[in-house]
């Protein structure tokens, strides 16, 4: 008891954690809570989507046909692969295979950029046809209210998701840097676990966006 008190008093800026293991548990719990919270950010958009789909089912079905299915599907493939590589990078770090981890992280980033590229291609295509959100919507082939709402939602959902992809990519680049500098190692790699979890959540969101925005017609 007294030794512990002395230890407590002597530390200048003590970490609140008595053991490093607790820090890891705390961070893991925190990221899960954060991911749950993050999902609720999308939840509102999903709820709006279902609500408007209930009101404008037919319009939504027509409008979804104007989203490029091949881009959406390719992007699904791209994001799932990147998610796999993120998991693989963690696996490699745990096994102490640094080069493999670096390669996997590079793959994650490359695929993420590829996703964003395809997404911008699709945005460009849409915008050039006048498929834009809200008041800027001038697509004459689908003049219905439902179609405009569908595309407004499309922009909000994919835009918010793309924002998360960008954040995720920055985290991945940072992790790449750390692994490269051997700061993230076999012994200490909790940040990689957290980053990968975030990236997987981004993937899961897209897994639902794909059918909602491209497939269900």
């Amino acid at each position: 008891m007294s030794r512990e008190s002395a230890a407590l008093a002597s530390q200048a800026e003590p970490s609140p954690y008595a053991q490093p293991e607790t820090r890891r548990a705390a961070l893991t719990l925190a990221i899960w809570v954060f991911l749950g919270s993050e999902t609720m950010l999308f939840a509102g958009l999903f709820a709006l989507y279902t609500g408007y789909r209930a009101l404008y089912g037919a319009d939504f079905a027509h409008a979804a046909a104007f989203n490029e299915e091949w881009i959406g599907s390719l992007n699904t493939f791209v994001l799932i692969s990147s998610s796999f590589f993120a998991a693989w990078a963690l696996h490699a770090v745990r096994a102490g295979r640094r080069v493999m981890a670096l390669a996997s992280l590079c793959a994650v980033i490359a695929l993420g950029l590829c996703f964003l590229g395809l997404k911008s291609l699709e945005y460009y295509d849409h915008l050039s046809r006048g498929i834009a959100p809200g008041q800027f919507y001038t697509f004459t082939r689908l003049p219905q209210h439902g179609a405009r709402l569908f595309f407004t939602l499309y922009y909000f959902m994919t835009g918010l998701h793309a924002l998360h992809v960008i954040v995720g990519l920055s985290i991945m680049a940072w992790l790449l840097h750390r692994v490269h500098r051997k700061r993230t190692t076999r012994e200490r790699h909790v940040e990689l676990e957290l980053g990968a979890l975030y990236w997987h959540l981004v993937d899961i969101v897209w897994i639902f966006l794909w059918p909602l925005l491209y497939l269900i017609r």
């Binding site: 893991t28 899960w32 408007y52 209930a54 009101l55 998610s83 796999f84 990968a196 897994i207 269900i216």
Partner: protein, 100 residues
């Protein structure tokens, strides 16, 4: 005597490389299945099918990639709770949209 230590946390068993590869394969197959379903004559079951497959994919990602199968009660509970609340919100809005 009480000491300021935390509760021991086990290092979660990491997902094995084999499991990751299998999960990836499963995800690719499911993606293909989802795409095929969109072009199959399923009628009004389209939506149900696409979302069902998506749910399975999300579960695979969550349980294998995100290591939920090794995680404790709390992360699983959080995941469940989040799903529950999304469901609630959608139900509330759709119920109002359909029946008013």
């Amino acid at each position: 005597m009480a000491t300021p230590v935390s509760h021991p946390v086990n290092e979660p068993e990491s997902a094995s490389g084999r499991a990751l590869r299998w999960a990836f394969l499963a995800l690719l197959v499911l993606t293909g299945l989802s795409w095929a379903g969109a072009h199959a004559p399923l009628g009004h079951l389209h939506g149900l099918f696409a979302l069902g497959v998506a749910a399975i994919k999300a579960l695979v990602v969550a349980f294998v990639f995100m290591e939920l199968r090794h995680a404790g009660f709390v992360p699983r509970f959080i995941a469940l709770l989040t799903l529950l609340f999304i469901g609630l919100m959608c139900t509330g809005i759709v119920a109002d949209a359909l029946w008013r």
